[in-house]
Amino acid sequence: MKKLANLLETKQVSSQEIVEHYLGEITRQEPMLNAFITVDQEGALTQAQAADQRRAENRPLSPWDGIPIAIKDNISTRGLNTTCASRFLANYRPLFDATVVRYLKDAGLPILGKTNLDEFAMGSSTEYSAYGVTCNPHDRSRVSGGSSGGSAAAVAAGEIPWSLGSDTGGSIRQPASFCGVVGLKPTYGWVSRYGLVALAPSLDQIGPLATSVEDTAILFSLLAGADPKDASSAAAQTFEVPAWDERCIKGLKIGVPEEFFGKGLHPEVEQAVRRGLRALEEQGAVLVPISLSTNEYAIDTYLTLVTAEASSSLARYDGVRYGERVGAQDSNTMFAKSRAAGFGPEVKRRIILGTYVLSASHYEAYYEQAQRVRTLIRQDVLEAFRHVDVIITPTTPTAAFRIGAKQSPLEMYLSDLFTAMANLSGIPALSVPCGKDSKGLPLGMQIMGKHFSEALLFRVGHFVEKTVGIRGCCR
């Protein structure tokens, strides 16, 4: 991205040319990929021309002024459809920008479009999108992952240089890993959630996806910071892209939790991650075998909390103020019919599960219990970080699976096996490509750190990327 910025700076290329290039890629590849729900050709070109104007007057808004971006379609963009991949919001146009979108506009980034996801971010493959699945650019018979599958695939395919996703249990990292790009789930609260359509507010975070660690860090620096509009955003400072200094690897204590290298892990994934770990070791890092025994409970805890919060967060879609209404004689029937018609099967499933775990007779046994187990998980993670600087695991147990392969919901839920823990404990986690399997499918390494340790994660990720990573993909 620095190169692109430099070309813009030195007027060797215009923003309009860049945007036209990516629009061309989108036109060429979208029929195969379906990474976008909405492409805002006109808006993006207008914004690009404005950026060029600013460049001509030598008053760019930022070094990245004029470099386009794509936004996951559950992040509010003023006047631009934000469907959450749901039929219910097929025609919904937000009246306001999400805080992060405002930041990007303030930095001069033209918004090229809105990317595909599982409906309301509920899923791990984009198969639950009302607008069709997003294919994996490395193998179009496979999923791009999810829920930020569109954001990951678009970056991997070169339809866009970088994008925003959201991550509630792995929704940035898992598709990043499947598509061979870099993705960060930031520390809970470091990026404003204002304007992110809620799935589970206590777990949701917006984060960046890009082809390189450096670009991911640059994009993160545009997003990070406390927002007075988000009471749960931490009083955190802005983020500065770190200098890429490999000396930090020497003596770095890397926790390697045995639970993440056991049952269910594909051998090729394990090999790839271990190769990365070896590279780090050779550079002077110390690998420390650790145990994160509570990860056994992560998926069930996560599912209980995410369904509970989602059942409440999605209750507002009642057909009164916006969205698609199905007419009925009375209000309750209107609610029930509108919601039945507007929501897909996975959304309904999670609402039923979430309603169940919150209902009076089950609250204590399920929701309350899960909240307490969450405390144990958080304690387990924080305890581990008293002994190590970062924790490295595979991002996912397997490479991208085939479209239609996961038949049961529970099977699908296991996609988050290695990623949910970071959301439950609020820590940051970065997924970096660390090679490909024998079928040529990308594999990802997950680097987790203490709260607000993103700079260190980027440094470690940068080293991994340089030594073992695969860059880009099928261009």
Partner: protein, 97 residues
Amino acid sequence: MIDRGEVIRMARLARLELSEAEIAQYQMDLTSFLISGEKLQKVDVSRVEGTSHAVPVTHELRKDEVGPSLPQDAVLLAGPKVQDGFFQVPRIVEAQE
């Protein structure tokens, strides 16, 4: 197996009209979800409180200052049915839950 009536009760609470097929499907899904979650029930949590916020933050309160509201037409723009500046809804009856 979770009782079918339980699924119907949840669907009513959540205002979701479900088909017979969906009820049967979610009856199965709910059951397997609960079975899978059984190991959670056995965890000793007696010594901890629940976590509802992963990263503790100080709650910054908002000053009591009036800011701009949206214009009425913008508020109503997305309304599926509006009348005289209001959103219109069909007859309100007490739900049977």
